[in-house]
Amino acid sequence: MNMALTNDDVHEIVRILDASHYDEFHIETRHFKLSLRRSGTAAGWTQETRTLSSPNVELHKDKPAQVSRTEPEDSDADQGDDRVGLTDIHPPLIGTFYRSPKPGAPPFVEVGSRVEADTVVGIIETMKLMNPVTARVHGVVAEICVSDGGFVETDSVLMRLCQETS
């Protein structure tokens, strides 16, 4: 079992330091690193901790041994766009892209769908919140670049729209 530092330990150290003239205290063991500082701006002390012990990771027997990272899917956004007049739709946030309002439901839009600026074309789930993605322009969906459930960054291209002037 790792040697842990409890809140009570830290309070005890601070109590000792309070009676001293020191402004900083640093301690490092194999398992943690702790820095205590007398606060300059406000009364009291601050703590900065690093847990140094390595995770003792054991992978499932029935799972592949390596840890795969979730990569953005179908990202052909970097290939450049030779079609003039197409407008890229980017996600408002990093997260998971959903094409339909709920699992099993029909997608918000398909290629060929006509959209207005406020038409919801997808959802980005970030930190358990569903954030609607709107078309922002008036036009027709020309291409959908990310599949349902794909992980996207803010510079990913979700879909391309053929903008129309109204």
């Binding site: 809140n7 003792n56 990771v57 699992p103 930190m127 569903m130």
Partner: protein, 446 residues
């Protein structure tokens, strides 16, 4: 039985919290972590970490089979589900029973009767508790009819919800269908259950809850908490005890919570939530949370108890170690939830890497966190970085202590709501105590 090894089926600060008590009790810990969390602080603190699947919760933290397989493989004799994820999932409790593993929580029947918010309403009525008018929605087409019968405005709630997720107010019939669809999507993603129901939206009131603890036969309460500072049903500040409540009203709320616990023959730690109308001194049952809650530290601060230790004791099959007369509420405690969100940009989530995390320390200050400098805040989970809990002899002392503690907290690399909390604690109305749920939106506008 004596529990020797606990699988923690959760992440973040609550995983760290459970590990802390397990260490004090000499219980080994196995963390069930997703691929995104294999290097997290709880993964470093646990005796062993086992990967239960990819980053997305549906494939890892919400995957009952993966969690059970991890428990069996690691030789754990119990599972602590924390809050959220599978904490109120009867399938996990049933799976545990079949596998001969202790589920640290209530019985399957209680989870079903409480986790299903519609059944919980019926139980509350049967136990003699007042409830807000409401009704179930079987088909989208009938929603408008139900809403009209219940009365506008309407609150859409997830049947499998809890912790404020999947609740959305609707003020006009034309918005009902799209709001229900969005709520169903969120409920499905968060709880694996897309069902929703409707309740009348009570526009202002205080959110007061009672911590209860039962062993299946005896039920005691550990006092009130006030969680009225909320944004879209997400609690931001909590305190214990609830301030400025008349003694008879507080006693009636305590009694209602214990009555509900007795009616359920409740076993474990739970919270009965109420909406309190202070003008009329009326209160309504909202829901019960059959698990440990995010805000449990304020109750620990004023009672001196370790609620995770009490959970484990009850799960081991012991009768309650405490009777009602053993519980004394002394002083006052407040908690601020420090979230990775940009409160100046409509609370936009701010995932990323925390470059530096400096926390306050001192008498009466407790910080529950999973974030250190260099730590990662993945986009797949909630935005809670840390909880700062400050206690004092009375509410004024706790408020003053919290102001100083907030000033000594510095988190860089991601946006946080620290400055929002500092501004909130300077607000005279908040300082007075007893604000209702309409306060926070007004505070944000000003």
């Amino acid at each position: 039985m004596k529990i020797k090894r606990i699988l923690i089926a959760n992440r973040g600060e609550i995983a760290v919290r459970v590990i802390r008590t397990c260490r004090e009790l000499g219980i080994e810990t196995v963390l069930a972590a997703s691929e995104a969390d294999l290097k997290s602080v709880p993964a470093r603190l646990a005796d062993q970490t086992i990967c239960v699947g990819p980053a997305r919760s549906a494939l890892s933290y919400l995957n009952v089979d993966a969690i059970l397989a991890a428990a069996l493989e690691s030789g754990a004799d119990a599972i602590h589900p924390g809050y959220g994820f599978l904490s109120e999932n009867a399938k996990l409790a049933i799976g545990c029973r079949n596998a001969g593993i202790v589920f640290i929580g209530p019985t399957e029947a209680q989870l079903d009767g409480i986790g299903d918010k519609l059944k919980a309403r019926s139980h509350a009525i049967a136990a003699g508790l007042p409830v807000v008018p409401g009704g179930s929605v079987d088909a989208l087409e009938s929603a408008l009819e139900v809403a009209t019968r219940v009365g506008w405005p309407i609150l859409v709630k997830a049947v499998g919800g809890g912790g404020g997720r999947g609740m959305k107010p609707v003020f006009e019939p034309s918005k009902l269908q799209e709001t229900i669809e969005m709520a169903m999507a969120e409920a499905s993603a968060a709880f694996g259950d897309a069902r929703i129901y409707l309740e009348r939206f009570v526009t202002s009131g205080r959110h007061v809850e009672v911590q209860i603890l039962g062993d299946g036969e005896h039920v005691i309460h550990l006092g009130t908490r006030d969680c009225s500072v909320q944004r879209r049903y997400q609690k931001l500040v909590e305190e214990a005890p609830a301030p400025n409540l008349a003694d008879d009203l507080r006693a009636a709320i305590h009694k209602a919570a214990v009555d509900f616990g007795h009616h359920m023959e409740y076993r474990g730690l739970g919270t009965v939530e109420f909406l309190v109308d202070c003008l009329s001194s009326e209160f309504y049952f909202l829901e019960m949370n059959a698990r440990i809650q995010v805000e449990h530290p304020v109750t620990e601060a004023v009672t001196g108890l370790d609620l995770v230790a009490e959970q484990i004791s009850v799960a081991e099959g012991w009768p309650l170690r405490l009777c009602q007369n053993d519980i004394t509420i002394s002083g006052h405690a407040m908690e601020c939830r420090i979230n990775a969100e940009d409160w100046t940009q409509d609370f936009r989530p701010s995932p990323g890497t925390v470059t530096s995390a400096i926390y306050p320390v001192g008498t009466g200050i407790r910080v529950d966190t999973h974030i250190e400098g260099g730590g990662s805040v993945p986009p797949f989970y909630d935005s809670l970085l840390a909880k700062i809990i400050v206690s004092g002899g009375d509410r004024a002392q706790a408020v003053a202590g919290m102001k100083a503690a907030l000033a000594n907290c510095h988190i860089d690399g991601v946006a946080t709501n620290l400055a929002m909390h500092s501004a909130l604690f300077e607000h005279p109305e908040f300082a007075q105590g007893g604000i209702d749920t309409s306060f926070f939106p007004r505070f944000m506008q000003s």
